[in-house]
Amino acid sequence: VTAHTDVAAVPPMHGDDALRERRLGRLSALASDEVLAATAIVAAALTVWVTLEADFLAHPVVLAIQKADFILGPVFVGLYWRRVRPASRFGPVLIAYGFVAVPYVLQSSSNSVLFPLGLIWELPIYAMTELLILTFPTGRLDGAAAKLILTVGILGQAVPVAVIALALPQVGADFSLSACRALCPENGLSVTTDVPLALRMADAYRVVIVAVALATIVLLIWRFVTGTPPRRRALAIGTPLGLLFLASQFLHQGFMLLAPNADEPASLEWLIAGARSLLWYGFWFALIAAQLFAARALRGLVAESLGRPSFRELERLVRGPLGDPQLRLGFRRPRSRAWVDSDGAVLAPPDEGQSLTEVERDGRPAAAIVHDRQLSDDPELLQAAGAVALLALENAELDAAWKGSLRELGDSRARLADASDRERRKLERDLHDGAQQRLMAVQIKLRLAQERVEDEALAQQLDAVGDEAEQAVEELRNLAHGIYPTVLRDYGLAAALRAIAVRAPIPVDVTDERVGRCPRSIEAAVYFCSTEALQNAIKHAGDDAHVRITVGSNSDTVGFAVADDGVGMDVAAISDGGDGLIGMRDRIGAVGGELTLTSSPGAGTCVRGTIPLDGTRPGVDQPEHAA
C-alpha cells in the first residue's frame, strides 16, 4: 500500500514544484544517506578540532559543541525526515542547513581573511534559520508573506554586514558565546576605518532582525490559527523552540538598539544560542509525533472498519483523525477509469486548496482521497486513511464476489427445482389426459358389453375386468398425485396438505395460518418438504403419534412446521442427512429458505422451514391463477 500525491490534479503552480521536487530527488539520490552522514561527521569532527585548537576564543569547548551540532543536528534530523517522508522537501532543507553551517568554522580561524569571512557567514546561517522556521513542516516557502520576510531579512542584513566588514579594522562576534578572549583576529577585508558608519549599519541590521523576528512570530501564529488540526499539531510541537529563538532575538536586538551602551544580560544571549541549536530537534519531535498519531489513527480506523462500514460511513470515519471535514473518498469501478464517490457519482475534482491523493494497489490506483492540501505534508495520516479505504474496498469486493456467486448458485438451484416441477406437472397431466381417460373409455365399453352379454359367467368375468380397471385407475391416480398434486396447483398449500392429511394412516391436523397463494416454486418446495416430513413421522413417530402441520405466511416469509408427538430421536445421530433431511434442505435451499429439525427421544420431532418472499429470484413465478 502506497500513497502518493497526485500532482496532475493540483493547479499548475504546483507543476513547477513537481519539477523542482524531481530535481531535488535526483540530487538526494546522488547524495545517499551514508555519504551525507559520513561527510557531516567528518566536517563536524574537523570543526571541533579547529575550534578547540583556536587560542583566541573565550569559550572554545561550548563553541565546538555548538558548531558540531549545527552540522550534525540538521543533517541527521534531515536524513531521518527524508527517510520517513521521502516526498517532503523539508528533509533536504534540513540537510542543506547542516552543510551550510560547515564554513561557520572559519570563525575559529585566526587568519585575518578567513575569520571575518566566518563572521560574514552568519548571514547565510541566519537566512537558513529563517528558512527552516518559515518552511516547517512542508519545506516550501508558502505565501507571499513568508517570501517577503525572507527577502527583507537577507537583503536587510547583507548590506550592513558588508559595509561593516569593509569599514572596521577589527570585527568581533556579536554574541558572547563567540566572543574572543582578548582581541579578535584582524579584519583583513577592511578598506577603511569609519566607526560611526559601522555603528549606524549595526543599528540598521538590528532593526531588520527585530522586524523579521516579529513578522515571523506573527506569521507562525496566523498559520497555527488557520491550520488544519494535523498542521496545528505539527506547529505546536515543531515551532516553540523557533518561537523562543525569535523572541529572544527580538529582545536581544531590541535591547541593543534602545540601550547600546548598557550591559546586556548574558542569559539572553545564551538563550538565543541555545534555542537556535535545538531548533531541529523540535522538528524531529514533530515528525515522531505525527507518526505516533498516524499509527493511533490507523488502529482506530481499522477497529472501526471491522464493522464493515459503507463507503459513506468510511468517509466519515476517516475525516475525524485527519481533521479534514471536507475530505472525500473515491473508488475506481472495475474497468472504469473514472473515480466514483461514496454516493456512486463521479468524484468531483479537488476544490481550491485541496489535493487528490491516489492509493495504489498492485501498482494501480485503486482509491483516491480528496483532502485539504495541508494534509499532503502529513503523509503518514494519508497513508493510514488510504490503507483503511483500500481494506474497505477489498472487503466490499470480496463481499460482492461471494454474494454474486451465492446468488448464481441460488439461481441455478432454483432453476433446477423449477425445471423438475415443470416436468412433474407435465407428467401428471399426461397421465390424466392419456392413460386415465383411456381407462375410463375401457370401463364404459366394458359396461356396454356387459349389458349385452347373455352368458352369466362371461358377465362375471367382464365385471372382474372392470374391477381391475378401476383398481388401475386408482393406482394411476395415486401415482399421478405422487408426481404432482393438482390440488397444490389449483388451491395452494393448505388444501394440498389437507389432501395428504386425509389419506395419512395416522391423525394429521393441518392448520392454515393464512398462507394463501405463494409463488409456485415456494409452494412446491414447502409441499414436498412437508410430505417428506410427514412420511418420516408416519414411519418413525409410532402408531399413537399425532402430526400437526402448520403453514402460514406474512409479507416477508412463508413458514411451515411439521410436528409430531411421537417417540422422537437423537438429532445428532441423523444430522448427517438421514431420512431425506438433505433432500428437504436442498429443496428449501433452492428457494432461498432454511430448514431446521428439532427432536429428542420421547419429545417428538419437528421440522420447521422458512422461505423469504423476496420475489427477486428468477424462476419464481406467480401461481397460475394469479393472472
Binding site: R429, H432, D433, Q436, Q437, R438, M440, A441, Q443, I444, K445, L446, R447, L448, E451, G466, A469, E470, V473, E474, R477, T486, V487, R489, D490, Y491, A495, R498, A499, A501, V502, R503, A504, P505, I506, P507, D509, E624, H625
Partner: protein
C-alpha cells in the same frame, strides 16, 4: 320429462365413451358437446340446459375449469344444475364445488361411468335440485374422521356414521332407507340425532344438510 344436458369434455375418447353411455337413457338428452370452458359457457347461455355435465379440467388451463364454471353459473344461471366428472379423488374439489351452495351440484369420479345408474342418478338428482358426492370422497373423509380423536364424531354410533356418509353423498331419506333397509322414519330419527350430536343445527333443507355433512367430514365445519 327429458333432462337437457350440455356436455363439456376435451378428451375425445372420454367424450365418445360417455356419449355412448348416455345414448340409451330415454329421459336424458345431450343437446350439445363442447371441448373448452369458453365454448361451454357460451353454449350454456345459448341453449339453456337443465344440467351441465362437465369434466373438471378443460382448456384453456386444464385446472379446475369445471368448478369455476359451476361457480359462475350459480350467479348467472341459478336453475342450471352442474355435474362435475373428475379424475381427482380429492375432497377439496367437492367442497369447493359446494362452497357457494350444494343445491343442483354433483361431484362424481370418472370411474362411476362403469355403472349405468351412478351417472344418470346424479344427472337426475341435480336436475331435481339435489346434490351428489362420490362415495369414494365421502369414504376418504370418513376414514380420516375415524382416525382422529374427534370426541363429537366418536359419539356417533356405527349406524349413525354410516348414515352421515350417505347424507354426505347426497342420498335422500327414502334412498337411505332403501339402501340400509330401515324405515324412512327411522332414517329421520337417526339424522336428527346425528345433527344434534355434531352440533350442525337443523337439517330442514335437503341441500343444506348435504353441504353441512360434507363440510363436517372435511373438517371445515364451524
Amino acid at each position: 320429462v327429458t333432462i337437457r344436458v350440455v356436455f363439456g369434455e376435451d378428451s375425445y375418447i372420454a367424450r365418445e365413451g360417455i356419449l355412448r353411455a348416455l345414448e340409451d337413457e330415454e329421459d336424458i338428452e345431450v343437446v350439445a358437446s363442447c371441448e373448452d370452458l369458453d365454448s361451454l359457457r357460451t353454449t350454456v347461455g345459448d341453449v339453456g340446459p337443465d344440467v351441465v355435465l362437465a369434466d373438471i379440467s378443460m382448456p384453456p388451463d386444464h385446472t379446475d375449469e369445471g368448478i369455476r364454471l359451476a361457480d359462475e353459473l350459480r350467479r348467472t344461471h341459478p336453475d342450471v344444475g352442474v355435474v362435475i366428472l373428475s379424475q381427482y379423488a380429492e375432497p377439496v374439489y367437492a367442497t369447493k364445488l359446494f362452497e357457494a351452495g350444494s343445491g343442483r351440484r354433483a361431484y362424481l369420479l370418472k370411474e362411476r361411468v362403469r355403472y349405468r345408474g351412478d351417472l344418470t342418478r346424479a344427472l337426475r338428482e341435480v336436475a331435481d335440485g339435489g346434490s351428489v358426492i362420490d362415495p369414494r370422497i365421502v369414504e376418504l373423509l370418513l376414514a380420516a374422521q375415524r382416525r382422529r380423536e374427534d370426541s363429537r364424531f366418536d359419539t356417533l354410533t356405527p349406524r349413525e356414521q354410516e348414515i352421515l356418509a350417505l347424507v354426505a353423498e347426497g342420498l335422500s331419506n327414502a334412498a337411505i332407507a332403501e339402501r340400509i333397509v330401515i324405515t324412512k322414519r327411522a332414517v329421520e330419527r337417526h339424522i336428527n340425532s346425528i345433527f344434534s350430536k355434531l352440533g350442525l343445527g337443523e337439517s330442514e333443507s335437503f341441500s343444506r344438510r348435504v353441504k353441512a355433512a360434507l363440510l363436517y367430514l372435511a373438517g371445515q365445519a364451524g
